[in-house]
Amino acid sequence: MITIDTCAGSDCAALAALWNAKRLDSASCWTQAQPIDETYVAQLMLAGYTFALATVDGVPSGFGFWRGGGDPVRLAALAADDGEVYYRLMDAFCDWALSVPATSAVSEMGAEATTESGWVDALGVIELSPIGFEPLGADEAQDQRVPKLLRATCDLQVLKNAVATALE
Protein backbone atom coordinates (compact mmCIF):
# COMPACT_ATOMS: atom_id res chain seq x y z
CA MET A 1 0.00 0.00 0.00
CA ILE A 2 1.31 3.42 -0.97
CA THR A 3 1.28 6.06 1.73
CA ILE A 4 2.10 9.72 1.21
CA ASP A 5 3.07 11.71 4.27
CA THR A 6 3.30 15.39 3.34
CA CYS A 7 4.49 16.63 6.71
CA ALA A 8 7.34 14.26 7.25
CA GLY A 9 8.82 16.05 10.18
CA SER A 10 9.39 12.82 12.02
CA ASP A 11 10.76 11.10 8.96
CA CYS A 12 13.72 13.34 8.26
CA ALA A 13 16.18 10.53 8.73
CA ALA A 14 14.28 8.19 6.41
CA LEU A 15 13.93 10.92 3.80
CA ALA A 16 17.64 11.76 3.98
CA ALA A 17 18.49 8.10 3.59
CA LEU A 18 16.33 7.79 0.50
CA TRP A 19 17.76 11.07 -0.88
CA ASN A 20 21.29 9.69 -0.49
CA ALA A 21 20.33 6.40 -2.11
CA LYS A 22 18.77 8.11 -5.13
CA ARG A 23 21.84 10.28 -5.66
CA LEU A 24 23.75 7.08 -6.39
CA ASP A 25 21.12 5.86 -8.87
CA SER A 26 22.49 6.81 -12.27
CA ALA A 27 19.05 6.39 -13.87
CA SER A 28 17.38 8.81 -11.49
CA CYS A 29 17.02 12.54 -11.91
CA TRP A 30 18.48 12.77 -8.44
CA THR A 31 21.84 11.37 -9.44
CA GLN A 32 24.79 13.47 -8.36
CA ALA A 33 22.77 15.41 -5.79
CA GLN A 34 24.74 16.46 -2.75
CA PRO A 35 24.77 14.02 0.17
CA ILE A 36 22.70 15.25 3.09
CA ASP A 37 21.66 14.25 6.57
CA GLU A 38 18.44 14.67 8.48
CA THR A 39 19.59 18.05 9.80
CA TYR A 40 19.59 19.42 6.27
CA VAL A 41 16.02 18.27 5.75
CA ALA A 42 14.99 19.83 9.06
CA GLN A 43 16.62 23.13 8.07
CA LEU A 44 14.70 23.24 4.80
CA MET A 45 11.46 22.54 6.59
CA LEU A 46 12.18 25.41 8.94
CA ALA A 47 12.85 27.57 5.87
CA GLY A 48 9.31 26.88 4.66
CA TYR A 49 9.63 23.84 2.45
CA THR A 50 7.03 21.14 2.46
CA PHE A 51 8.36 17.59 2.27
CA ALA A 52 6.53 14.49 1.17
CA LEU A 53 7.75 11.00 1.79
CA ALA A 54 6.12 8.09 -0.02
CA THR A 55 6.31 4.60 1.40
CA VAL A 56 5.21 1.32 -0.07
CA ASP A 57 4.23 -1.10 2.63
CA GLY A 58 6.23 1.01 5.03
CA VAL A 59 9.36 1.14 2.91
CA PRO A 60 10.47 4.60 1.68
CA SER A 61 10.03 4.66 -2.07
CA GLY A 62 9.89 8.26 -3.15
CA PHE A 63 10.12 11.84 -1.96
CA GLY A 64 9.39 15.33 -3.05
CA PHE A 65 9.62 18.83 -1.66
CA TRP A 66 8.36 22.17 -2.73
CA ARG A 67 7.55 25.63 -1.51
CA GLY A 68 5.15 28.44 -2.21
CA GLY A 69 5.60 32.15 -1.84
CA GLY A 70 4.03 33.11 -5.11
CA ASP A 71 2.42 31.90 -8.28
CA PRO A 72 3.80 29.82 -9.87
CA VAL A 73 4.81 27.62 -6.99
CA ARG A 74 8.12 25.88 -7.26
CA LEU A 75 8.55 22.14 -7.25
CA ALA A 76 12.08 21.65 -5.99
CA ALA A 77 12.34 17.87 -6.31
CA LEU A 78 10.39 14.74 -7.05
CA ALA A 79 12.06 11.32 -7.19
CA ALA A 80 10.61 7.84 -6.86
CA ASP A 81 11.29 4.19 -7.48
CA ASP A 82 8.25 3.56 -9.68
CA GLY A 83 5.72 5.46 -11.71
CA GLU A 84 2.69 5.03 -9.48
CA VAL A 85 4.60 6.36 -6.47
CA TYR A 86 5.87 9.25 -8.60
CA TYR A 87 2.37 10.20 -9.76
CA ARG A 88 0.98 9.89 -6.23
CA LEU A 89 3.64 12.32 -5.06
CA MET A 90 2.82 14.59 -8.00
CA ASP A 91 -0.85 14.45 -7.06
CA ALA A 92 0.00 15.41 -3.48
CA PHE A 93 1.98 18.35 -4.79
CA CYS A 94 -0.97 19.45 -6.94
CA ASP A 95 -3.35 19.28 -4.00
CA TRP A 96 -1.01 21.35 -1.88
CA ALA A 97 -0.35 23.89 -4.62
CA LEU A 98 -4.01 24.33 -5.52
CA SER A 99 -4.77 24.94 -1.84
CA VAL A 100 -2.14 27.71 -1.58
CA PRO A 101 -3.84 28.80 -3.87
CA ALA A 102 -1.72 28.78 -6.99
CA THR A 103 -2.55 28.16 -10.62
CA SER A 104 0.73 27.09 -12.09
CA ALA A 105 3.99 25.44 -11.16
CA VAL A 106 7.58 25.64 -12.25
CA SER A 107 10.58 23.42 -11.81
CA GLU A 108 14.01 22.85 -13.24
CA MET A 109 15.23 19.48 -14.38
CA GLY A 110 18.21 18.12 -16.19
CA ALA A 111 17.93 17.63 -19.92
CA GLU A 112 19.30 14.10 -19.81
CA ALA A 113 16.82 11.23 -19.97
CA THR A 114 16.10 9.75 -16.55
CA THR A 115 13.51 7.47 -15.07
CA GLU A 116 11.57 10.46 -13.76
CA SER A 117 11.79 12.45 -17.01
CA GLY A 118 10.13 9.52 -18.77
CA TRP A 119 7.18 9.78 -16.38
CA VAL A 120 7.03 13.55 -16.93
CA ASP A 121 7.00 13.10 -20.69
CA ALA A 122 4.26 10.49 -20.40
CA LEU A 123 1.94 13.02 -18.79
CA GLY A 124 2.17 15.15 -21.93
CA VAL A 125 1.05 18.35 -20.24
CA ILE A 126 4.32 19.78 -18.92
CA GLU A 127 6.01 22.31 -21.13
CA LEU A 128 9.76 22.00 -21.18
CA SER A 129 12.03 24.75 -22.41
CA PRO A 130 15.81 24.64 -22.33
CA ILE A 131 17.41 27.31 -20.18
CA GLY A 132 20.88 25.89 -19.76
CA PHE A 133 23.23 24.61 -22.43
CA GLU A 134 26.68 23.27 -22.97
CA PRO A 135 28.76 26.43 -23.25
CA LEU A 136 29.69 27.54 -26.73
CA GLY A 137 33.26 27.92 -27.80
CA ALA A 138 34.47 30.79 -29.92
CA ASP A 139 33.65 29.28 -33.33
CA GLU A 140 30.67 27.12 -32.46
CA ALA A 141 27.22 27.77 -33.88
CA GLN A 142 24.53 28.81 -31.45
CA ASP A 143 21.88 26.57 -33.00
CA GLN A 144 23.95 23.47 -32.34
CA ARG A 145 24.09 23.84 -28.62
CA VAL A 146 23.27 20.89 -26.42
CA PRO A 147 20.62 21.53 -23.72
CA LYS A 148 21.67 20.71 -20.18
CA LEU A 149 18.89 22.12 -18.04
CA LEU A 150 15.18 22.48 -18.72
CA ARG A 151 12.56 24.66 -17.15
CA ALA A 152 9.28 22.81 -16.67
CA THR A 153 6.06 24.79 -16.42
CA CYS A 154 2.44 23.72 -16.33
CA ASP A 155 -1.06 24.61 -15.27
CA LEU A 156 -1.79 22.94 -11.95
CA GLN A 157 -5.32 21.82 -12.73
CA VAL A 158 -4.28 20.42 -16.08
CA LEU A 159 -1.43 18.61 -14.35
CA LYS A 160 -3.71 17.18 -11.68
CA ASN A 161 -6.12 15.90 -14.33
CA ALA A 162 -3.29 14.29 -16.26
CA VAL A 163 -1.97 12.66 -13.12
CA ALA A 164 -5.42 11.31 -12.33
CA THR A 165 -5.63 9.82 -15.79
CA ALA A 166 -2.21 8.25 -15.40
CA LEU A 167 -3.21 6.69 -12.09
CA GLU A 168 -6.40 5.13 -13.47
Partner: protein, 439 residues
Amino acid sequence: MNQIILQPDAAAGVDSHMLGGAYATVNFGDDPVLNAGTTNVGKVTLFSRPLLRFDLTAIPVGMQITSATLTLSHAGGTLPAGGEFTAHRLTREDWTEFGVTWNRYDGANTWTTPGGDYTAELHDTQSVASAAEDLVFESLAELAADAIANRQGLLHLLVLGPESGSADNYLSVHSSDAATAALRPKLVVEYQLPVPQLTIADHGDGTGATATISAAAATSNNILFVQGFDGQPGSGPWTTGASRVGNGDVTLALTRGHYFAHVVSELDTHTAVSAMAYFVITDGVESIHTRCLEAAQARVRLLGLEGLASGSVVVQKVPAGRNLASGVGLPAVILSPHRAAMPAVEGTNGRDDVFYDVLVAIFDRDNQEPTLQANLDRHLLWRQQIARAFRNQRLPGVPEVINCVVEPAEGLLEEAWKRELMTSAVLLRFTSRETRGFN
Protein backbone atom coordinates in the same frame (compact mmCIF):
# COMPACT_ATOMS: atom_id res chain seq x y z
CA MET B 1 22.03 67.21 -19.79
CA ASN B 2 22.17 64.31 -22.20
CA GLN B 3 20.61 60.95 -21.61
CA ILE B 4 21.03 57.54 -23.15
CA ILE B 5 18.67 54.64 -22.43
CA LEU B 6 19.88 51.13 -23.11
CA GLN B 7 17.34 48.33 -22.98
CA PRO B 8 18.60 45.83 -25.51
CA ASP B 9 16.59 42.89 -26.82
CA ALA B 10 17.72 39.29 -27.11
CA ALA B 11 19.77 39.98 -30.22
CA ALA B 12 21.60 43.01 -28.89
CA GLY B 13 21.64 42.22 -25.19
CA VAL B 14 24.51 40.40 -23.57
CA ASP B 15 23.58 38.85 -20.26
CA SER B 16 23.50 35.51 -18.54
CA HIS B 17 23.75 34.05 -15.10
CA MET B 18 26.05 31.49 -13.62
CA LEU B 19 25.11 28.59 -11.38
CA GLY B 20 27.61 26.74 -9.28
CA GLY B 21 27.75 23.14 -8.12
CA ALA B 22 26.17 20.59 -10.43
CA TYR B 23 25.49 23.30 -13.00
CA ALA B 24 28.92 24.86 -12.99
CA THR B 25 29.42 23.85 -16.62
CA VAL B 26 25.99 24.93 -17.84
CA ASN B 27 25.46 28.13 -19.79
CA PHE B 28 22.30 30.21 -19.32
CA GLY B 29 22.77 32.76 -22.07
CA ASP B 30 19.28 32.13 -23.43
CA ASP B 31 17.47 32.18 -20.13
CA PRO B 32 14.74 34.83 -20.06
CA VAL B 33 15.49 35.35 -16.37
CA LEU B 34 18.60 36.05 -14.34
CA ASN B 35 18.81 34.68 -10.84
CA ALA B 36 20.83 36.26 -8.05
CA GLY B 37 21.33 34.60 -4.69
CA THR B 38 20.96 31.13 -3.29
CA THR B 39 18.91 28.92 -5.55
CA ASN B 40 18.25 25.49 -6.98
CA VAL B 41 18.31 24.04 -3.54
CA GLY B 42 16.50 21.01 -4.84
CA LYS B 43 19.50 19.08 -5.89
CA VAL B 44 22.24 21.03 -4.23
CA THR B 45 22.65 24.42 -2.62
CA LEU B 46 23.88 26.71 -5.36
CA PHE B 47 24.69 30.32 -5.84
CA SER B 48 23.50 32.14 -8.88
CA ARG B 49 25.11 35.29 -10.23
CA PRO B 50 23.89 37.43 -13.15
CA LEU B 51 26.32 39.01 -15.58
CA LEU B 52 25.39 41.87 -17.86
CA ARG B 53 27.19 43.91 -20.45
CA PHE B 54 26.13 47.32 -21.73
CA ASP B 55 27.57 49.18 -24.67
CA LEU B 56 28.23 52.82 -23.75
CA THR B 57 30.32 53.67 -26.79
CA ALA B 58 27.69 56.19 -27.89
CA ILE B 59 28.92 58.43 -25.07
CA PRO B 60 32.12 60.27 -26.06
CA VAL B 61 35.18 59.76 -23.91
CA GLY B 62 35.59 62.65 -21.54
CA MET B 63 31.95 63.19 -20.75
CA GLN B 64 31.00 63.67 -17.13
CA ILE B 65 28.63 60.91 -16.09
CA THR B 66 26.13 62.46 -13.74
CA SER B 67 24.05 59.34 -13.11
CA ALA B 68 23.70 55.74 -14.21
CA THR B 69 20.78 53.63 -13.06
CA LEU B 70 20.26 49.97 -13.80
CA THR B 71 16.75 48.62 -13.39
CA LEU B 72 16.25 44.87 -13.26
CA SER B 73 12.56 44.00 -13.31
CA HIS B 74 11.55 41.27 -10.96
CA ALA B 75 10.38 37.99 -12.42
CA GLY B 76 10.03 35.91 -9.27
CA GLY B 77 12.20 34.16 -6.76
CA THR B 78 12.11 33.70 -3.04
CA LEU B 79 13.38 36.24 -0.54
CA PRO B 80 11.85 35.31 2.82
CA ALA B 81 13.61 38.12 4.66
CA GLY B 82 14.55 40.38 1.80
CA GLY B 83 18.08 40.55 0.54
CA GLU B 84 21.02 42.73 -0.23
CA PHE B 85 22.41 42.85 -3.73
CA THR B 86 25.64 44.34 -4.94
CA ALA B 87 26.81 45.30 -8.40
CA HIS B 88 30.46 44.80 -9.23
CA ARG B 89 32.69 45.36 -12.21
CA LEU B 90 33.82 42.18 -13.89
CA THR B 91 37.58 42.33 -14.20
CA ARG B 92 37.55 39.90 -17.09
CA GLU B 93 35.98 41.60 -20.07
CA ASP B 94 36.14 38.85 -22.70
CA TRP B 95 33.38 36.69 -21.29
CA THR B 96 30.81 35.50 -23.81
CA GLU B 97 27.06 35.30 -23.41
CA PHE B 98 26.78 31.73 -24.66
CA GLY B 99 30.06 30.45 -23.31
CA VAL B 100 30.06 31.73 -19.78
CA THR B 101 29.53 29.29 -16.94
CA TRP B 102 30.41 29.24 -13.27
CA ASN B 103 33.75 27.66 -14.20
CA ARG B 104 34.60 29.26 -17.54
CA TYR B 105 34.21 32.73 -18.95
CA ASP B 106 34.08 31.85 -22.65
CA GLY B 107 33.27 28.18 -22.81
CA ALA B 108 36.93 27.25 -22.94
CA ASN B 109 38.98 29.22 -20.45
CA THR B 110 38.51 29.20 -16.71
CA TRP B 111 37.89 32.14 -14.47
CA THR B 112 40.71 32.84 -12.05
CA THR B 113 38.11 32.26 -9.35
CA PRO B 114 35.08 30.08 -10.19
CA GLY B 115 31.96 32.19 -10.11
CA GLY B 116 33.53 35.13 -11.92
CA ASP B 117 36.42 37.51 -11.47
CA TYR B 118 35.20 40.83 -10.14
CA THR B 119 36.41 43.71 -8.09
CA ALA B 120 34.95 44.84 -4.82
CA GLU B 121 35.72 48.43 -5.73
CA LEU B 122 33.28 50.76 -7.42
CA HIS B 123 30.22 48.76 -6.56
CA ASP B 124 26.68 49.66 -5.69
CA THR B 125 24.57 48.06 -2.98
CA GLN B 126 20.79 47.87 -2.95
CA SER B 127 18.35 46.16 -0.64
CA VAL B 128 15.19 44.45 -1.82
CA ALA B 129 12.41 43.71 0.64
CA SER B 130 10.80 40.88 -1.31
CA ALA B 131 10.94 39.01 -4.58
CA ALA B 132 8.06 41.19 -5.77
CA GLU B 133 10.31 44.24 -6.03
CA ASP B 134 12.52 45.38 -8.86
CA LEU B 135 16.24 45.56 -8.26
CA VAL B 136 17.41 49.10 -8.99
CA PHE B 137 21.05 50.11 -8.81
CA GLU B 138 21.08 53.89 -8.79
CA SER B 139 24.75 54.60 -8.18
CA LEU B 140 26.54 53.16 -11.15
CA ALA B 141 27.87 56.49 -12.42
CA GLU B 142 31.42 55.72 -11.38
CA LEU B 143 31.32 52.30 -13.01
CA ALA B 144 29.86 53.79 -16.20
CA ALA B 145 32.53 56.49 -16.26
CA ASP B 146 35.20 53.85 -15.74
CA ALA B 147 33.77 51.80 -18.62
CA ILE B 148 33.90 54.77 -20.98
CA ALA B 149 37.33 55.90 -19.92
CA ASN B 150 39.08 52.58 -19.47
CA ARG B 151 37.04 49.66 -20.89
CA GLN B 152 36.41 50.64 -24.50
CA GLY B 153 32.96 51.86 -23.53
CA LEU B 154 31.73 48.48 -22.32
CA LEU B 155 30.25 48.18 -18.87
CA HIS B 156 30.66 44.66 -17.50
CA LEU B 157 28.59 43.99 -14.40
CA LEU B 158 28.25 41.09 -12.03
CA VAL B 159 25.47 41.02 -9.47
CA LEU B 160 25.80 39.24 -6.17
CA GLY B 161 22.76 38.29 -4.13
CA PRO B 162 22.45 36.66 -0.72
CA GLU B 163 24.77 33.69 -0.70
CA SER B 164 24.29 31.86 2.56
CA GLY B 165 22.16 29.16 4.08
CA SER B 166 20.70 26.15 2.39
CA ALA B 167 17.23 27.34 1.45
CA ASP B 168 16.10 29.27 -1.62
CA ASN B 169 16.94 32.91 -1.12
CA TYR B 170 17.16 34.59 -4.48
CA LEU B 171 15.65 37.18 -6.74
CA SER B 172 14.78 36.35 -10.29
CA VAL B 173 14.80 39.24 -12.76
CA HIS B 174 14.05 39.44 -16.45
CA SER B 175 16.93 39.21 -18.89
CA SER B 176 17.29 40.69 -22.36
CA ASP B 177 15.73 37.46 -23.62
CA ALA B 178 12.43 38.32 -21.92
CA ALA B 179 9.49 38.41 -24.31
CA THR B 180 8.20 41.71 -22.91
CA ALA B 181 10.52 44.50 -24.01
CA ALA B 182 9.67 46.79 -21.10
CA LEU B 183 10.84 44.19 -18.60
CA ARG B 184 14.33 43.74 -19.97
CA PRO B 185 17.34 45.15 -18.10
CA LYS B 186 17.43 48.91 -18.55
CA LEU B 187 20.39 51.17 -18.05
CA VAL B 188 19.80 54.92 -18.06
CA VAL B 189 22.91 57.07 -18.21
CA GLU B 190 22.90 60.85 -17.94
CA TYR B 191 25.97 62.76 -18.93
CA GLN B 192 27.26 66.17 -19.83
CA LEU B 193 30.40 67.81 -21.02
CA PRO B 194 32.26 69.02 -17.94
CA VAL B 195 31.95 72.76 -17.45
CA PRO B 196 35.45 74.24 -17.58
CA GLN B 197 36.68 76.58 -14.90
CA LEU B 198 38.83 79.58 -15.65
CA THR B 199 41.18 81.47 -13.39
CA ILE B 200 43.43 84.25 -14.60
CA ALA B 201 46.57 85.56 -12.96
CA ASP B 202 47.84 88.98 -14.00
CA HIS B 203 51.57 89.03 -14.67
CA GLY B 204 51.61 92.44 -13.02
CA ASP B 205 54.18 93.84 -15.43
CA GLY B 206 51.94 94.93 -18.24
CA THR B 207 52.73 91.92 -20.44
CA GLY B 208 49.48 90.02 -19.95
CA ALA B 209 48.27 87.14 -17.82
CA THR B 210 48.29 83.40 -17.43
CA ALA B 211 44.91 81.75 -17.83
CA THR B 212 44.41 78.39 -16.15
CA ILE B 213 41.73 76.06 -17.48
CA SER B 214 40.60 73.32 -15.13
CA ALA B 215 37.76 70.80 -14.75
CA ALA B 216 37.48 70.40 -18.53
CA ALA B 217 37.39 67.03 -20.27
CA ALA B 218 40.88 65.82 -21.04
CA THR B 219 40.14 65.47 -24.73
CA SER B 220 38.04 68.59 -25.14
CA ASN B 221 39.14 71.55 -27.23
CA ASN B 222 39.04 74.63 -25.03
CA ILE B 223 38.86 78.03 -26.67
CA LEU B 224 39.46 81.09 -24.54
CA PHE B 225 37.65 84.26 -25.58
CA VAL B 226 38.66 87.70 -24.36
CA GLN B 227 36.82 90.98 -24.47
CA GLY B 228 38.40 94.32 -23.78
CA PHE B 229 36.31 96.14 -21.23
CA ASP B 230 35.78 99.82 -21.76
CA GLY B 231 33.49 100.30 -18.84
CA GLN B 232 30.49 98.21 -19.63
CA PRO B 233 30.07 94.48 -20.24
CA GLY B 234 29.38 93.54 -23.82
CA SER B 235 30.89 96.69 -25.14
CA GLY B 236 33.68 95.29 -27.24
CA PRO B 237 34.22 92.41 -29.61
CA TRP B 238 35.12 88.97 -28.33
CA THR B 239 38.40 87.74 -29.71
CA THR B 240 40.04 84.35 -29.43
CA GLY B 241 42.74 84.72 -26.85
CA ALA B 242 44.13 81.20 -26.96
CA SER B 243 43.09 77.56 -27.12
CA ARG B 244 44.33 74.25 -25.91
CA VAL B 245 43.26 70.63 -25.55
CA GLY B 246 42.32 69.64 -22.03
CA ASN B 247 43.28 71.43 -18.86
CA GLY B 248 46.30 73.61 -18.27
CA ASP B 249 47.74 77.07 -18.70
CA VAL B 250 47.70 79.41 -21.66
CA THR B 251 49.40 82.78 -21.89
CA LEU B 252 47.39 85.84 -22.79
CA ALA B 253 49.42 88.67 -24.30
CA LEU B 254 47.34 91.70 -23.38
CA THR B 255 48.09 95.31 -22.72
CA ARG B 256 47.15 97.07 -19.53
CA GLY B 257 43.41 97.29 -19.17
CA HIS B 258 40.23 95.68 -18.04
CA TYR B 259 38.98 92.46 -19.57
CA PHE B 260 36.40 89.74 -19.49
CA ALA B 261 37.16 86.19 -20.53
CA HIS B 262 35.43 82.83 -20.77
CA VAL B 263 36.25 79.37 -22.05
CA VAL B 264 34.19 77.39 -24.53
CA SER B 265 34.82 73.68 -24.19
CA GLU B 266 33.99 71.55 -27.23
CA LEU B 267 33.87 67.79 -27.57
CA ASP B 268 32.15 65.91 -30.34
CA THR B 269 28.89 67.83 -30.79
CA HIS B 270 28.78 68.98 -27.19
CA THR B 271 29.64 72.41 -25.84
CA ALA B 272 30.10 73.77 -22.34
CA VAL B 273 30.89 77.33 -21.37
CA SER B 274 32.72 78.50 -18.27
CA ALA B 275 31.57 81.30 -16.05
CA MET B 276 32.72 84.77 -17.06
CA ALA B 277 35.97 85.90 -15.50
CA TYR B 278 36.79 89.56 -15.01
CA PHE B 279 40.42 90.52 -14.75
CA VAL B 280 42.73 93.49 -14.96
CA ILE B 281 46.09 93.65 -16.62
CA THR B 282 48.27 95.99 -14.61
CA ASP B 283 51.79 97.25 -14.75
CA GLY B 284 52.14 97.28 -11.02
CA VAL B 285 52.16 101.01 -10.55
CA GLU B 286 48.52 101.99 -10.71
CA SER B 287 47.01 103.89 -7.87
CA ILE B 288 43.29 103.81 -7.22
CA HIS B 289 43.06 107.34 -8.47
CA THR B 290 44.82 106.39 -11.71
CA ARG B 291 42.53 103.48 -12.20
CA CYS B 292 39.54 105.75 -11.60
CA LEU B 293 40.82 108.02 -14.30
CA GLU B 294 41.37 105.20 -16.78
CA ALA B 295 38.07 103.48 -16.05
CA ALA B 296 36.22 106.77 -16.35
CA GLN B 297 38.02 107.45 -19.63
CA ALA B 298 36.97 104.03 -20.95
CA ARG B 299 33.41 104.68 -19.87
CA VAL B 300 33.27 108.08 -21.56
CA ARG B 301 34.71 106.64 -24.76
CA LEU B 302 32.07 103.96 -24.67
CA LEU B 303 29.36 106.61 -24.62
CA GLY B 304 30.22 107.48 -28.19
CA LEU B 305 29.35 111.13 -27.75
CA GLU B 306 28.26 112.51 -31.07
CA GLY B 307 30.90 114.72 -32.63
CA LEU B 308 33.61 113.64 -30.23
CA ALA B 309 36.44 111.44 -31.49
CA SER B 310 37.30 108.53 -29.19
CA GLY B 311 40.95 109.58 -29.31
CA SER B 312 40.03 112.99 -27.98
CA VAL B 313 38.95 111.53 -24.65
CA VAL B 314 42.24 111.76 -22.82
CA VAL B 315 43.67 111.65 -19.36
CA GLN B 316 45.98 114.55 -18.69
CA LYS B 317 46.30 117.63 -16.64
CA VAL B 318 43.93 120.40 -17.51
CA PRO B 319 45.83 122.47 -20.10
CA ALA B 320 46.30 125.50 -17.93
CA GLY B 321 49.57 126.62 -19.33
CA ARG B 322 50.22 123.65 -21.54
CA ASN B 323 48.74 122.31 -24.72
CA LEU B 324 46.59 119.30 -25.26
CA ALA B 325 48.51 116.08 -25.72
CA SER B 326 49.94 115.57 -29.16
CA GLY B 327 47.43 114.35 -31.70
CA VAL B 328 44.40 115.24 -29.64
CA GLY B 329 42.03 117.35 -31.61
CA LEU B 330 39.20 119.56 -30.47
CA PRO B 331 36.61 119.13 -29.28
CA ALA B 332 38.10 117.03 -26.50
CA VAL B 333 37.16 115.63 -23.13
CA ILE B 334 39.93 115.75 -20.62
CA LEU B 335 39.90 113.76 -17.46
CA SER B 336 42.23 114.86 -14.75
CA PRO B 337 42.72 114.18 -11.06
CA HIS B 338 41.02 117.14 -9.55
CA ARG B 339 41.90 116.72 -5.94
CA ALA B 340 43.99 114.37 -3.94
CA ALA B 341 42.14 111.68 -2.07
CA MET B 342 40.36 113.27 0.76
CA PRO B 343 40.34 112.09 4.34
CA ALA B 344 37.72 109.54 5.15
CA VAL B 345 34.36 110.97 5.93
CA GLU B 346 32.35 107.77 6.38
CA GLY B 347 32.88 104.05 6.39
CA THR B 348 32.55 101.12 8.72
CA ASN B 349 34.35 100.07 11.87
CA GLY B 350 37.35 98.89 9.90
CA ARG B 351 37.04 100.67 6.61
CA ASP B 352 37.02 104.25 5.42
CA ASP B 353 35.19 105.86 2.56
CA VAL B 354 37.69 107.89 0.60
CA PHE B 355 36.93 110.28 -2.27
CA TYR B 356 38.82 110.30 -5.55
CA ASP B 357 37.76 113.25 -7.65
CA VAL B 358 38.00 113.22 -11.40
CA LEU B 359 37.37 116.39 -13.32
CA VAL B 360 35.77 115.75 -16.67
CA ALA B 361 36.17 118.87 -18.79
CA ILE B 362 34.85 119.50 -22.28
CA PHE B 363 37.16 121.65 -24.38
CA ASP B 364 36.28 123.26 -27.64
CA ARG B 365 37.36 126.26 -29.66
CA ASP B 366 35.44 129.30 -28.69
CA ASN B 367 36.96 132.38 -30.15
CA GLN B 368 33.65 133.76 -31.17
CA GLU B 369 30.35 134.11 -29.42
CA PRO B 370 28.41 132.45 -32.28
CA THR B 371 30.53 129.32 -31.88
CA LEU B 372 29.51 129.03 -28.29
CA GLN B 373 25.89 129.41 -29.24
CA ALA B 374 26.17 126.85 -32.00
CA ASN B 375 27.72 124.24 -29.76
CA LEU B 376 25.75 124.96 -26.62
CA ASP B 377 23.22 122.19 -26.96
CA ARG B 378 25.83 119.64 -27.97
CA HIS B 379 28.03 120.40 -25.01
CA LEU B 380 25.14 120.33 -22.58
CA LEU B 381 24.04 117.02 -24.00
CA TRP B 382 27.54 115.61 -23.49
CA ARG B 383 27.50 116.79 -19.87
CA GLN B 384 24.13 115.18 -19.37
CA GLN B 385 25.23 111.87 -20.88
CA ILE B 386 28.45 111.82 -18.89
CA ALA B 387 26.64 112.57 -15.65
CA ARG B 388 24.10 109.82 -16.24
CA ALA B 389 26.82 107.31 -17.03
CA PHE B 390 28.36 107.70 -13.58
CA ARG B 391 25.79 109.05 -11.16
CA ASN B 392 25.15 106.75 -8.19
CA GLN B 393 26.92 103.79 -9.75
CA ARG B 394 29.94 101.69 -9.10
CA LEU B 395 32.84 102.15 -11.44
CA PRO B 396 33.38 99.01 -13.54
CA GLY B 397 37.01 98.05 -13.47
CA VAL B 398 37.71 99.61 -10.10
CA PRO B 399 36.17 97.27 -7.60
CA GLU B 400 37.09 99.48 -4.65
CA VAL B 401 34.70 102.17 -5.85
CA ILE B 402 31.27 101.73 -4.30
CA ASN B 403 29.58 104.87 -5.57
CA CYS B 404 29.97 108.00 -7.66
CA VAL B 405 28.51 111.41 -6.96
CA VAL B 406 28.38 113.86 -9.83
CA GLU B 407 28.93 117.44 -8.84
CA PRO B 408 29.03 120.62 -10.88
CA ALA B 409 32.45 122.00 -11.65
CA GLU B 410 33.64 125.39 -12.72
CA GLY B 411 32.18 126.14 -16.13
CA LEU B 412 35.01 128.40 -17.02
CA LEU B 413 38.63 127.77 -16.38
CA GLU B 414 40.68 130.93 -16.30
CA GLU B 415 43.66 129.56 -18.16
CA ALA B 416 41.46 128.07 -20.83
CA TRP B 417 39.76 131.39 -21.26
CA LYS B 418 43.08 132.98 -21.92
CA ARG B 419 43.75 130.40 -24.61
CA GLU B 420 40.38 131.11 -26.21
CA LEU B 421 38.94 127.76 -25.29
CA MET B 422 35.41 127.05 -24.20
CA THR B 423 35.27 124.77 -21.20
CA SER B 424 32.48 122.98 -19.49
CA ALA B 425 33.07 120.45 -16.75
CA VAL B 426 31.57 118.07 -14.24
CA LEU B 427 33.25 116.56 -11.23
CA LEU B 428 33.02 112.83 -10.64
CA ARG B 429 33.50 112.05 -6.98
CA PHE B 430 34.29 108.37 -6.70
CA THR B 431 33.92 106.85 -3.25
CA SER B 432 36.32 104.05 -2.43
CA ARG B 433 35.78 101.91 0.65
CA GLU B 434 39.23 100.95 1.89
CA THR B 435 40.42 98.79 4.70
CA ARG B 436 41.94 100.92 7.36
CA GLY B 437 45.64 100.48 8.00
CA PHE B 438 46.49 98.55 4.83
CA ASN B 439 47.91 99.64 1.52
